[in-house]
């Protein structure tokens, strides 16, 4: 395959079967390898779409500063495009995200502003919104509310999956900005009667939630729960366990949030087996494991890895 530039090589990622983790020949799991994108994550799709939209609308012109709250991957994608297009990039990210993500961001020239760990991604959003108010000339693309985020998946990820898996019965992805689930979910619902759209939501320990109260709850503007069929809450231990199973049984080296999606996919697979129904379940491998090596997720016992992950954001 030949492309005019790295940006042109976005998408068209492989969908690979999981012969060992699939429960039977009638109930099969398929992994969409989004780590095969230009900067190594699914976030390249929304990042490229959001920048292209802002350029088209005249919001972004050469020399502009882009501001974005991000726990990593979106910032990395935006930083890469910003470097190629001549924008300054400022990321607001929680201080408890992995060292690799920070290095990658700086490598592509982004500036990082840390937000307190206790507030997680929500706090990063609040800090970014405050900065945007202080710097009206900065452009916040705002992945949580930017329709181009979901649209990228509606126009690319969804059609790619359906073309490769016409018999799809379930689509599973992690729930963050909700862009992947909203975009792919809407597309598949239009094309496939009764397709099930399944969210895997990360469940963190009390260290991460610590100090917040109910009034601070935050729902991304993109979120529409009518697109979802069901929603799983996946704890760190199960996410880690599934990430390791994917590596050990299928050879796929994925990030920890992928383990969360796999856990939900296996939950739906078990229900299909129990009901005696056939299923082709596609789930998103959001990124590779490289950025999480320093968390110790892949070393020692599961319990040790879980202890090391306590208090860290993994999705």
């Amino acid at each position: 395959m030949r492309f005019d530039s790295l940006l042109d090589s976005l998408g068209r990622t492989p969908l690979v079967g999981l012969p060992r983790l699939s429960p039977s020949a009638e109930v099969r799991l398929w992994a969409k390898l989004e780590d095969r994108n230009p900067t190594g994550s699914v976030k390249d799709r929304p990042a490229f779409w959001m920048i292209a939209k802002a350029e088209k609308e005249g919001l972004l012109t050469p020399g502009c500063t882009i501001l974005e709250p991000t726990s990593g991957n979106t910032g990395i994608s935006l930083a890469m495009v910003a470097r190629l297009r001549g924008y300054r990039m400022v990321c607001v990210m929680p201080e408890n995200t992995s060292a690799e993500r920070r290095q990658l961001l700086r490598m592509w020239g982004a500036e990082i502003i840390s937000s307190p760990a206790a507030g997680g991604s929500n706090e990063a959003v609040r800090v970014a919104k405050r900065l945007a108010a202080e710097h009206p000339d900065w452009v916040m693309l705002y992945q949580y509310g930017n329709e181009a985020n979901a649209l990228a998946h509606y126009e690319t990820t969804g059609p790619e999956i359906l073309a490769d898996l016409p018999g799809i019965t379930h689509f599973v992805a992690g729930l963050g900005t909700t862009g992947t689930l909203m975009g792919v979910g809407r597309y598949l619902r239009e094309q496939v009667p009764d397709v099930k759209i399944v969210a895997a939501e990360p469940r963190y320990g009390e260290l991460v939630y610590g100090l917040r109260n109910i009034d601070e709850g935050f729902i991304p503007e993109l979120y529409d729960d009518s697109v979802l069929t069901t929603r799983f809450s996946v704890g760190s231990k199960d996410a880690l366990r599934r990430t390791r199973e994917l590596l050990e049984q299928e050879g796929i080296f994925a990030g920890i949030s992928t383990g969360g999606a796999l856990h939900a996919a296996l939950g739906m697979a078990r229900k299909a087996v129990k009901a005696g129904e056939r299923a082709d379940i596609a789930f998103i491998v959001a990124d590779g494991g490289w950025k999480y090596l320093s968390t110790g997720a892949y070393e020692g016992t599961l319990e040790e890895a879980e202890d090391r992950l306590e208090g860290q954001l993994w999705a």
């Binding site: 997680g120 949580y144 963050g176 990360p202 917040r212 935050f218 729902i219």
Partner: protein, 99 residues
């Protein structure tokens, strides 16, 4: 075999500090009633006149029961039910939202 029910820190005063208790029933509703017979007050913390309390999340094998059948969700031996206060459990706080 029974159904394992994981109890959040904030409700462990009702279970003598136990992180998990066991119960039985054919539906979530029956399970909670069964638990309440040994841990009085638990039902009132989870359920009000309209069903599951707003700021309580209950998961059956990690799946949100609000997307299943709420209190009518069928449960069976070997299942794991996880109870979380919405504030500490994810649905209320994470990007992904509160309903």
């Amino acid at each position: 075999m029974a159904i394992e029910v994981r109890i959040p820190t904030i409700l462990r005063n009702l279970t003598d500090g136990a992180k998990a208790v066991e119960g039985k029933g054919g539906s979530l509703d029956e399970l909670i009633t069964d638990l309440d017979s040994r841990h009085p007050g638990l039902r009132d913390r989870l359920v009000d006149a309209k069903g599951l309390r707003k700021f309580v999340n209950v998961y059956l094998n990690d799946e949100d029961v609000r997307f299943l059948g709420g209190l009518d969700t069928e449960v069976s031996d070997g299942d794991t039910v996880t109870v979380l206060p919405a504030v500490a459990g994810g649905a209320a706080d994470l990007p992904g939202g509160r309903r």
